[in-house]
């Protein structure tokens, strides 16, 4: 499904509340963006296919031309106009009525308590609760505006969450977004009273969620750590939303790639930050780029990327086959080593411990390998087509034999089993899992010959969509010491677990003279974005475990994790 085109339009840097958890507080200078500039942005967005306009701030209703902008956006053609607001201005019934008449479609109120003492204390304004509540009622009475609520969870209101939700459900609200505080601005200044013990939240959230859903409410979460949602994993935020976070911090991250320190990096803050896993992984890769020695790189001969070379990727340039631009499209004898004009990868990569090659056929892998200009310490290969000869043989001069060769395709796995060339790498798609079960006798005869790993990218999504939970899929093979790669040991307790450095797709490095943030974000989401259960704290293997892919947690629930508490 195509993503709806949205325009987030910040009208001002001014607010009439002073929320204890505001992460944007440092950006508030009281300024209002000129209406001319705002109209221009609206028009340009529409020309670019914009469908939803989101008016935000500061507090957008403080903008003197708020109503005019709603009217303008509707007149120009925006189909849906939303505002994210504390809603106090809507306490004036005429203001609410005029906003509805102008074409406001949706108002998302920030409400953080179910009574004045709690809410007013959190937003720093006496009387704010009564005004916002009046605003909700006024907008609901128009019958034209969808009203929903954002609740920023914090130490002061987390225990009251069930009451907060039930209070507003009684007021006629049936959609809530539960937000985790962002450790910046005032949220960080007040960290002692804002951030809460996860175990405490985990006790309250199930009750709040079940009660609200039982009343017909729809819930969303935003930046909430997955471990808080055990039992309600469907509410874990879509991992792909991480792209929005990266977009929001792009300037800082780009400067980090240029060598400037990331100003917010401090362990205590990162502990509470939704993107800390991303930053940790990026830092790890940045360190590898400094030496040019990479622990693991992934090369997919089928990958297409927007552009290559020394210029930054352009959204308008036509797709090119990256491999063909980096290595010779023809035979190795005619190929000339890449220059800095054609690619920057050779300048970045001096060595690699493990190279993962994903190729359509063995011939394709053999055509690509010599041009890489690298001799990996070890390499593994996955194929889409069955090999007719030994695929473990060195792909180029000086290369060692393959460590393992595999596929997610049963026909290829069959060929590898028949050929008996070496360890078989099973990329655990639904068909591959079925193949493992059908070949149970052969697997059981030599279980140490099988290395099981979840597939990459779309393969992982397909695995989740088709309900193939690795532990369950391989349960008939229970008791066999298979090799399990980058999956928690508790999914298959008899297996030998290996945590290998996830292979960084080479296109992440090849786009420019440095790491491509968007491609790295995709790599992170698909491979490195993982989570644990709160119960995992008690596991003897916790320090050795890399966690469960978030997609898998969403699909199968965190309950599949069974901590080893002894032995």
């Amino acid at each position: 499904m195509a993503e709806e085109k949205r325009l987030w339009l910040r009208l001002n840097r001014s607010c009439n509340n002073r929320c204890a958890f505001c992460h944007d507080a440092l950006g508030h200078d009281g300024s209002m963006r000129p209406i001319k500039e705002l109209r221009k942005a609206i028009k340009e967005s529409l020309e670019d296919g914009g469908e939803r306009l989101i008016l935000s701030g500061g507090e957008p209703t403080l903008h003197p031309d708020f109503l005019k902008l709603v009217d303008y956006a509707r007149e120009q053609g925006f189909g849906w106009i939303q505002t994210v607001t504390n809603g106090r201005m809507f306490a004036y019934a005429e203001f609410a009525q005029r906003a509805a008449s102008a074409g406001l479609s949706e108002a998302t109120f920030s409400m953080h308590g179910h009574h004045a003492a709690l809410h007013d204390n959190l937003v720093g304004v006496p009387g704010a609760f009564a005004q916002s509540l009046a605003g909700i009622q006024n907008l609901l009475e128009t019958g034209q505006v969808v009203v929903n609520i954002d609740v920023v969870l914090n130490s002061l209101n987390i225990d009251s969450l069930p009451d907060i939700l039930s209070f507003f459900i009684k007021e006629g609200i049936f959609e809530f977004d539960l937000l985790y505080p962002v450790p910046f601005g005032r949220a960080w200044e007040n960290k002692e009273s804002i951030f809460f013990d996860p175990a405490r939240a985990a006790r309250v959230l199930p009750k709040a969620i079940e009660q609200a859903q039982g009343s017909g409410a729809v819930l969303w979460t935003n930046r909430l750590p997955p471990e808080l949602l055990e039992g309600h994993e469907d509410l874990i935020q879509d991992p792909y939303k991480l792209h929005d976070e990266i977009r929001g911090r792009r300037a800082e991250l780009e400067r980090w790639l240029e060598g400037e320190p990331l100003p917010c990096r401090e362990p205590d803050r990162c502990r509470h930050c939704f993107v800390s896993g991303f930053c940790n992984s990026l830092e790890d890769i940045l360190n590898q780029t400094k030496t040019g020695q990479f622990s693991a790189l992934g090369l997919d001969t089928k990958n297409e990327v927007p552009s290559n070379g020394t210029s930054p990727p352009s959204r308008t340039s036509p797709p090119q086959n990256w491999v063909q631009s980096w290595v010779p499209p023809t035979s190795q004898s005619t190929w000339v080593p890449p220059t800095s004009q054609s690619t920057s990868l050779d300048a970045l990569v001096k060595g690699v411990q493990r190279l993962e090659i994903h190729a359509g056929s063995l011939e394709e892998a053999r055509a690509v390998a010599p041009g890489l200009g690298l001799i990996p310490e070890t390499w593994v290969l996955s194929l889409d087509e069955a090999p007719t000869e030994d695929p473990f043989a060195p792909l180029a001069e000086g290369w060692p034999k393959a460590e393992r060769v595999g596929s997610q395709n049963p026909a290829v796995l069959d060929a590898l089993l028949r050929g008996n060339w070496g360890p078989i790498w099973v990329l655990l798609e639904a068909d591959a899992a079925a193949w493992m079960r059908s070949e149970k006798d052969k697997v059981m005869a030599d279980p140490g010959n099988f290395w099981v790993q979840t597939p990459r990218f779309s393969g992982l999504s397909a695995l989740c969509q088709r309900g193939v939970q690795p532990g369950m899929a391989l349960k008939p093979l229970g008791g066999q010491p298979l090799h399990l790669v980058n999956l928690p040991a508790c999914l298959l307790p008899d297996a030998k677990t290996h945590w290998e450095a996830p292979a960084l797709p080479v296109e992440v490095l090849a786009q420019t003279t440095r790491i491509d943030l968007d491609l790295f974000a995709k790599h992170f989401i698909c491979t490195l974005h993982r989570c644990f259960s709160l119960r995992c704290k008690s596991c003897n293997l916790r320090e050795l475990c890399g966690g469960l892919p978030v997609d898998m947690a969403k699909a199968f629930g965190l309950s599949i994790l069974k901590p080893f508490s002894s032995g």
Binding site: A91, E94, H115, Q131
Partner: protein, 145 residues
């Protein structure tokens, strides 16, 4: 100790305290700490002066009576300090207790705010409630820092 009278025969000491130095609540709080071992009597000794008698519940030697006077002086200082610290930290203590109570406060019908119909009738262009005024403008002057 010029302000101390040691009455060995009466098994007691008398302490004359200047209320400008030791506010009455400080003297009382200090005296209260001695009621387990002494009988306490308070007398007004003149303008701005308080005379405190501490009489031993059991027989005290002259040395013990002198030590009792010293203990009382030390207790006076402690109570004075406590009072000063309490005055300085009133705000934060109230905030902590307030927050603790708030997070525990159950919602009841009584705590539901008034449906503010009267607000609804007001003219938003005039903003009589000052809703559209940025926080800094409205309350910023009240910030401590």
């Amino acid at each position: 100790m010029e302000n101390v009278e040691i009455d060995s025969r009466g098994n007691r000491i008398g302490l004359l305290l200047d209320e400008k130095i030791y506010p009455r609540e400080v003297s009382l709080a200090a005296a209260y700490r001695f009621i387990d071992r002494c009988y306490v009597r308070l007398e007004r000794a003149g303008r701005g002066q308080l005379l405190i008698w501490l009489k031993g519940k059991r027989k005290l030697s002259a040395k013990a009576l002198e030590a009792l006077a010293g203990d009382y002086d030390n207790e006076l200082l402690q109570q004075l300090m406590r009072q000063q610290v309490a005055a300085r930290t009133t705000g934060i203590r109230e905030a902590i207790v307030g927050r603790a109570l708030m997070s525990a406060e159950p919602w009841t019908e009584e705590t539901e705010p008034n449906k503010t119909n009267e607000i609804a009738e007001l003219d938003y262009t005039e903003d009589p409630l000052g809703i559209a005024v940025p926080w800094e403008e409205k309350y910023g002057g009240q910030e401590e820092d």
